[in-house]
């Protein structure tokens, strides 16, 4: 029952928020308390070994829409709850229209539903609902650049969803069902058939547009960099992850391990390369979202227990620190008058102290300083990588992360008399606490043996060396400028690149059988 109530109650609260705008704060608190209760009930059932599973509609599982509260789904739902709480606290005192909170609730509701659903078409509708909600959220302030970024987002994501719909059609034509648990047995029984490859490639390409995979999510840098901080945090922390959860679910059914690894490596490396060359901090964060998705995909594609758990923990960890980064940078940029590095450095004394401390925690988290969230998740993930080559790629990405975040160093240290508002500090503390206490919390998700193994001396030394090397490299290359193609981000080219990406996925699936 909690499985259905979680999303539906959010939808009810969404409608209530817009009907009774005055009681918004009450509804916000109420919805979070109810969600927490429902989520803990689900977690209890999962721990007992009987994850809840329901089939909505008067048909048995496999025909009606099935929802399942398994590990992947529950992790994501908890992340959604945490980020929703953080964003609610962040916007507590802002004068925003009820419309904003309606969209927020719808977005969170669709995240809950997506994390549990095993039905392809239901997932399609949830993706579209979240697309529309975040589309409106990005353009909320009506600035032309936001509107343009939003439009770009809608066009690409709708193209991706059409490709996804074609995939659903191919699946249905051959299996006569859309439920992933049933599909799994059918696909396993017919390995290497051409329709499996076609359907898999179409579905993966469609979701990849939403999942922040580099050659597909070309709308992402603009949309994430231009939206309001609270919206960027949700987009980066949650909406992208909806696609990632979709890929996880597909990964259980279709043979796409190799595809995920290669896509992960591409998006990881290219994201870093673009991030290195970004001096607008919000844009840098947006490119980093792409690169961090790379870790998650590589971890999941490795198809080992530790890799999978590492990917899940990294998904949560990334949600925490990326949301915190966007929120703090957003406030800093608002105080400093601009989000490019120069303005931030010049006005760094205007950044409130609480914000700065939170920013430091988030940066340390993302570059993987032990024992913060980034380190823990990355270490678990690395334990699960089967080959040396993958290790090397992941190391390269870590170094790149450090190099690009070294740019922020001058902003981090200054004295300031400004103070952040209490609700904002609460929101920072909530996320920052999550980053610091990630290790004890991750014991809920990952078995102690694996977590403890992550804290071996080797990993700690590796993390410190990476940070040192990254810092040193930054001083070597910081004067260099290089031009990267920006043509691919234009509306005229990006649909073509998505189609080229489809060929790539198709080829990788043929190779990966």
């Amino acid at each position: 029952m909690p499985l259905i109530l979680l999303p539906l109650l959010r939808f009810v609260f969404a409608t209530l928020t817009i009907s009774f705008a005055r009681a918004r704060k009450l509804f916000t608190i109420l919805s979070h308390i109810i969600d927490a209760a429902l989520l803990s009930q689900l977690a209890l059932m999962l721990v007992r070994g009987t994850p809840e599973m329901v089939s909505v509609g008067g048909a048995p599982a496999g025909i009606g829409i099935s929802l399942i509260g398994d590990q992947v789904g529950l992790t994501f739902a908890v992340l959604a709850w945490v980020l929703s709480a953080a964003v609610s606290a962040y916007t507590w005192q802002d004068k925003l229209r009820p419309y904003f909170f309606l969209l927020l609730n719808l977005l969170i509701g669709s995240c809950y539903a997506l994390s549990f659903t095993t039905d392809l078409f239901n997932a399609y509708l949830l993706f579209e609902l979240s697309t529309l909600a975040s589309f409106l959220l990005v353009g909320y302030q009506r600035q032309p650049r936001q509107i343009w970024a939003s439009l770009h987002y809608l066009v690409l994501s709708s193209l991706g969803m059409s490709i996804f719909l074609l995939g659903i059609g191919v699946v249905y034509a051959h299996c006569g069902c859309l439920d992933l648990t049933v599909l799994k047995t059918i696909v396993k029984a017919s390995p290497g058939e051409s329709w499996v490859l076609l359907a898999g490639a179409l579905l993966v390409a469609g979701i990849a547009v939403k999942a922040g995979v580099f050659v597909f999510s070309l709308w992402l840098p603009a949309a994430h960099a231009r939206a309001m901080p609270a919206v960027s945090a949700l987009l980066s922390g949650l909406v992208i992850k909806m696609g990632v959860v979709g890929l996880f679910r597909l990964g259980d059914v279709f043979p796409i391990d190799l595809t995920l690894i290669v896509l992960g490596a591409i998006t990881g490396i290219l994201g870093i390369v673009y991030a290195l060359n970004s001096y607008d901090i919000k844009r840098l964060l947006a490119f980093h979202t792409l690169s961090q998705i790379g870790y998650i995909l590589i971890g999941f594609g490795a198809a080992t227990e530790a890799g999978r758990l590492g990917a899940l923990s990294y998904e949560v960890a990334h949600g925490l620190f990326k949301a915190l980064l966007f929120l703090t940078i957003g406030e800093a940029a608002a105080r400093a008058g601009g989000s490019d590095l120069k303005t931030l450095i010049e006005n760094k004394h205007k950044i409130p102290r609480g914000t700065r401390i939170a920013l430091i925690i988030a940066v340390l988290g993302i570059i993987g300083l032990p024992p913060l969230a980034g380190f823990d998740a990355k270490a678990i993930l690395e334990d699960g990588l089967p080959t040396m080559f993958l290790h090397l790629i992941v190391l390269l990405m870590s170094v790149g992360t450090v190099v690009s975040f070294a740019k922020l160093a001058p902003v981090l240290f200054a004295s300031s008399t400004h103070r952040a508002s209490r609700s904002r500090v609460l929101s920072y503390a909530w996320l920052g606490g999550g980053i610091i206490l990630f290790w004890p919390l991750s014991l809920l998700l990952v078995s102690p043996a694996i977590t403890l193994h992550a804290y071996s001396g080797l990993h700690i030394i590796e993390a410190l060396v990476v940070i040192a090397v990254g810092g040193a490299l930054y001083f070597l290359i910081r004067k260099r400028r290089f031009r990267l193609p920006s043509e691919i981000f234009r509306l005229e080219t990006s649909p073509l690149i998505i189609l080229i990406g489809f060929f790539l996925i198709y080829a990788l699936m043929i190779l990966g059988q």
Partner: protein, 121 residues
């Protein structure tokens, strides 16, 4: 056969989406792409000699598969929602830039405040 037509329509839609510069026509092309995937779904449920899926119990005639049709109803509405919202955003952009040409809007936007990275350090 209908499936092939659906794929061709999908292709026409993407061509127009990429090559036409007018934003309104881009949106129409997007609608065509969605309509093409919807046509593909409907074509799956159809079978030779079938009737429409409306029958009383005990009626054993061959009918078209009702599931794709039910799915498609939702997809059509989603398509409408996308087209309407995107149109509103295009209208806002046009009010600002007085043109629907996507390339010109991009140029204007770049001129307005250079979005390119301002190097520093």
């Amino acid at each position: 056969m209908a499936a092939i037509i659906a794929f061709v329509l999908f292709g026409i839609g993407v061509v127009a989406l990429v090559l036409r510069r007018d934003l309104v026509i881009k949106l129409l092309a997007l609608g065509l792409i969605n309509a093409a995937s919807i046509l593909f779904l409907v074509s799956i449920g159809d079978r030779p000699g079938a009737r429409a899926p409306i029958q009383l119990p005990g009626d054993l005639g061959i009918v078209a598969d009702p599931l794709p049709q039910a799915l498609v109803l939702s997809a059509i509405v989603v398509n409408f929602a996308i087209l309407a919202l995107a149109l509103v955003f295009v209208m806002i952009l046009v009010e600002r830039y007085h043109t629907t040409d996507s390339i010109r809007i991009e140029q204007e936007m770049a001129r307005e405040a250079d979005d390119q990275e301002t190097p520093c350090l």
